[in-house]
Symmetry: C2
DNA sequence: TTGCTTGCAAATGATTTGCACTGCT
DNA sequence: AGCAGTGCAAATCATTTGCAAGCAA
C-alpha cells in the first residue's frame, strides 16, 4: 500500500466519523479520483482501477458520499460523474461539454463568489428558502469537440 | 380546445420547424407546465393531466425538448423535472430543496447576469471551452421543510 | 466472534422502444 | 392513401440490493 498522503489522512478521519474503514478498495477510488483530476463516470473509474468490482464501487461511492468524502454530479448524460468532496479540495464549479459529456473543474475568484453568495441569499430569502450551497454549470464545447 | 394563447402560437411554430404537430396531448403537457409555474416531474405532470399516457408523455417531452420547447432538468432525485424552454419564458435559475426535491425558478438582475457571462467566458476560454449557456442551482431548504 | 466489506447475481425503477392502431391532411 | 401520433406492454440500462463468504479489530 502506498504511503498515506494528507488526503488519505483526511479521508480516513471522515470515514471513521461514519464508522467506515478506509479499505484498499476505497483507497483505490479516492486515488483514482485524485489522479483523474476531473469528475469521472463509474466506467472511467473502473478503467482506472481494474480490480474494483462494479457493485462495490457503486456501494463505496454512495457510502463515501454520505460520509462527505465524495460528491456525485448528475448532468443529462448516461452516467453520473464523481469527484472528491469540496471539503477535501476547494470550492469550484463545472464546465460541461455538450458534445462529449466531458466535465472539468473551474474556480472563480473570491470577490465573485462573495457577490454570488450575497445575491443567492437575497433571492432565496424572497422565496422562503434557506440557501446552503450552490452549483454553477457552464455548458459549451470542449477543445476536442470545437 | 381552449383558444390559442401567445405561448401556444410560439410552441406551434417551434414544433412546425421540426415537422411536429401541436396535438392535444402536447398541448396538455405545455399547459400543465405553464399552470404548474415551476419545474415538475413526470408523475406530477400526469397528475395535472390524467388523460396523458405515460409513454406518450415521455416521448413528447423528449421530442419537444429537441424542438426547443421543453427543458429537462436533472438534479439527483428519482425523477427529472421538466419546464418550458427559456426561449419561451425567460432566462432564470433554480432553487432546489435538498429535503423534498422541490424546484422553484429564480431570476437575477441584468447586471449580475452580465458579470456572470463575462466571468464564465474568461474562465471557459482558459480551458479551451466555448461557453454556450449556464445553469445556476442554489440548494437549500424550502419554506415547508425548514 | 462481531460486524464491516466484498463480489456475484438478481432486482429495481425511471425512461425508452416495438408494434399495431388511430386519426390528421 | 400515407404518414404522424398514441397507448400498451415489453425492453433497456444505470444503479441498487440480497446474500454468502472474507477479513480486520
Amino acid at each position: 500500500m502506498a504511503p498515506k498522503t494528507d488526503l488519505d489522512r483526511a479521508v480516513t478521519q471522515r470515514l471513521a466519523e461514519s464508522d467506515l474503514r478506509y479499505t484498499s478498495g476505497r483507497q483505490a477510488i479516492v486515488t483514482g479520483l485524485r489522479v483523474a483530476d476531473r469528475p469521472v463516470t463509474l466506467p472511467e473509474l473502473l478503467d482506472l482501477s481494474p480490480d474494483l468490482a462494479q457493485s462495490s464501487a457503486y456501494r463505496n461511492l454512495s457510502l463515501m458520499e454520505n460520509a462527505g468524502v465524495i460528491r456525485r454530479l448528475v448532468h443529462g448524460g448516461d452516467h453520473a460523474h464523481y469527484e472528491l468532496a469540496e471539503e477535501l479540495t476547494e470550492h469550484h464549479h463545472h464546465l460541461i461539454c455538450e458534445s462529449c459529456g466531458l466535465v472539468r473543474d473551474i474556480t472563480f475568484d473570491g470577490d465573485l463568489e462573495q457577490t454570488l453568495d450575497t445575491a443567492f441569499s437575497r433571492v432565496a430569502a424572497s422565496e422562503g428558502f434557506l440557501p446552503r450551497h450552490h452549483a454553477i454549470d457552464v455548458y459549451g464545447r470542449c477543445a476536442g469537440c470545437r
